[in-house]
């Protein structure tokens, strides 16, 4: 009988823990502000003074917005960059603000758009979690960035719906 009571008491505790963990997980993977949702922000571990941050940006604000760049206490500057091949070698070129259409998604991904952290105060190590701010014309969005392996191809939870 006491065992049964203990089991019954454990159910709400486990449920609370599961909900709590799920909420933390959601908060870590999704940032929202002004109708903009930034999902699964991630970066690769780096040994140099630069790092690229990738994420999915969904615009449900009701209007087109401009993705302008970013800011971070860890880097001297954060700029929007676009990938291109220069004489067969990959390169990222600084870009001006680009539009994110209403009810559309812009994907920042390797070999595409990215936010480049320049002049990093310290190298990014796999497993680190850093905070950056992505700047739009309608306001900033504070984003939690997961640092993956130096050869990571995506966020560790890529494919999970949020």
């Amino acid at each position: 009988m006491p065992n049964r009571l203990l089991r019954l008491a454990a159910i709400p505790v486990l449920a609370w823990a599961a909900v709590s963990f799920a909420a933390d997980d959601y908060d870590d993977h999704v940032a929202e502000s002004n109708g903009l949702r930034v999902v699964h922000a991630w970066a690769r571990a780096t040994t140099g003074p630069e790092a690229l941050v990738f994420a999915d940006i969904v615009n449900d604000s009701g209007a087109d917005v401009l993705l302008q760049g970013g800011a971070s206490g860890l880097a001297a500057s954060v700029e929007l960059v676009g990938f291109e091949l220069r004489d067969g070698e990959p390169a990222y070129t600084p870009l001006p603000a680009i539009p994110v259409r209403n009810r559309r998604e812009v994907v920042l991904a390797p070999n595409g758009l990215a936010l480049r952290l320049n002049g990093l105060a310290e190298t990014l190590v796999e497993g680190d979690e850093i905070e950056i701010t992505i700047v739009f014309d309608v306001g900033p969005v504070d984003v939690h960035v997961e640092v993956g392996a130096s050869d990571a191809a995506g966020h560790s939870h890529a494919g999970h719906a949020h």
Partner: protein, 440 residues
């Protein structure tokens, strides 16, 4: 301190970093040389040994040179192929197709590999062409061929985009005219009849009566388009019994604007904006349920990253192969030193210090390795040129590979490693007893 070094390293120009790497990789060989030769000048004796055993020495040098040359040649080729494929895709900023495989559609639209692809409608084409950021939207309609040359339906603006000014002739101005790539085996004024499809399965005579006359030739682009024949997209539609993209009131017109109701479809559209950021905005706009927009450069980069892994494996294999060859050479050298062991024993009997004899044998081995590596760079240059020609001929992609710093780093690392290994035969020669060798 390591952070300070890392910071300093980051501030160096790329050329300075390459030179520094080269010196660092060569440093073990230089240090060993300085230590082994300290206080001695065995060069005259080593020169005499080299001359005395010149044919054997030459054989060893040639073995090392071929091993080094092929190794660096293959690695340079990988880079050349990467740059060649990128150059070939240079004019293709953004491609819009029906949803599917980006790699397949890139191979079809950029590298002209035949593929069956769903078509984009006239409404989609007009939406793209009328977008305020689009400076060029050209249909790329493939499927027909003439002999080995794909016949591509497109617009005159696309021909200008691809070639700039033509090498000879002019752009097509009517349905029955064609502009050929730089390496197509036709001349201005020639007429030909396209086959339906491409390759061995192409149906000759399927478009009987639909002849094109060549009116212009493009400049070389170093891409498969050098072997392509470009015709008005309206003509491609017409020879297939389809509407020609323009309403009855514009019969015979060429190029945009197209009437969506009379637009039979195109498997791919080249889209160009003047600015890189605008291309990204366009890609975002046309990545949706009914269209797929992609940068061939980004798709290539993904493929190149796979090649990058292959390159690392190739580099390791090249070093292993070269070291194995050199180990074989050094094993042969151990046997060779037996040939002149009596002379070495005589030297020691005459009072030459053991270290001097050690320095002589090591210097001899190092001379073979150094000469083999230097000659190997020459072999690498020749191998690179030959392989580039073969790859260019087989792929229609201009590959201009040349040796660069990564290959020189490889050679420097090889020299250092093998020069260290060359200490072994020197030790072996040193440990031979003098008296029995003199009596032999």
């Amino acid at each position: 301190m390591p952070d300070a070094v890392a910071d300093l390293w980051q501030t160096l120009p790329v050329m300075a970093q390459d030179i520094a790497w080269f010196v660092l990789l060569l440093l073990p060989a230089l240090v060993v040389g300085i230590v082994v030769l300290a206080g001695y000048r065995p060069f005259a004796l080593v020169g005499a040994i080299l001359w005395r055993f010149r044919w054997t020495s030459l054989l060893f040098v040639a073995l090392i040179a071929v091993s080094v040359g092929i190794g660096v040649g293959l690695i340079a080729q990988e880079r050349g192929l990467r740059q060649g494929t990128a150059r070939a895709a240079d004019k293709f900023d953004l491609i819009v197709t029906a949803p599917g495989s980006e790699v397949t559609m890139m191979m079809a639209a950029v590298y002209l590999q035949p593929v069956d692809a769903p078509l984009l409608s006239g409404a989609v084409y007009n939406e793209i062409a009328s977008h305020d950021r689009v400076s060029l939207a050209a249909p790329i309609a493939f499927g027909d061929s003439y002999r080995a040359a794909p016949v591509i339906g497109t617009t005159a603006d696309f021909v200008s985009h691809l070639s700039g000014d033509l090498a000879t002739g002019r752009l097509f101005a009517t349905h029955g005219e064609a502009v050929i790539g730089a390496r197509v085996a036709l001349d201005i004024g020639d007429s030909f009849e396209p086959a339906h499809g491409a390759g061995p399965a192409a149906e000759e005579g399927a478009h009987a009566g639909a002849a094109y006359t060549v009116v212009g030739r493009m400049r070389p682009s170093g891409s498969p388009w050098d072997k392509a024949i470009l015709v008005p997209v309206e003509a491609v539609w017409a020879v297939h019994g389809l509407p020609d993209g323009h309403g009855p009131q514009h019969e015979g017109a060429l190029g945009p604007p197209f009437d969506a109701d009379y637009f039979p479809g195109t498997p791919a559209i080249l889209v160009r904006a003047e600015e890189l950021w605008a291309n990204y905005a366009l890609r975002s706009d046309f990545t949706r349920a009914d269209t797929m927009a992609f940068f061939p450069g980004a798709v290539l980069a993904r493929l190149h990253s796979l090649l990058g892994d292959v390159r690392q494996v190739m580099s390791v294999m090249a070093i292993v192969t070269q070291v194995l060859v050199t180990a074989g050479v050094l094993a042969g050298l151990v046997i060779l030193t037996r040939l002149f062991s009596r002379r070495l024993a005589l030297l020691r009997a005459l009072g030459a210090p053991r270290r001097f004899v050690f320095a002589v044998v090591w210097s001899y081995a190092a001379a073979l390795i150094g000469a083999g590596a230097a000659l190997g760079i020459g072999v690498g240059v020749a191998a690179t040129a030959i392989i580039s020609r073969v790859v260019t001929a087989r792929t229609d992609i201009l590959v201009r590979a040349s040796l660069d710093w990564p290959e020189l780093h490889l050679v420097a690392g090889f020299v250092s490693l093998t020069v260290l290994l060359a200490l072994v035969p020197a030790f072996v020669a040193l440990n031979r007893p003098v008296a029995p060798e003199l009596r032999a």
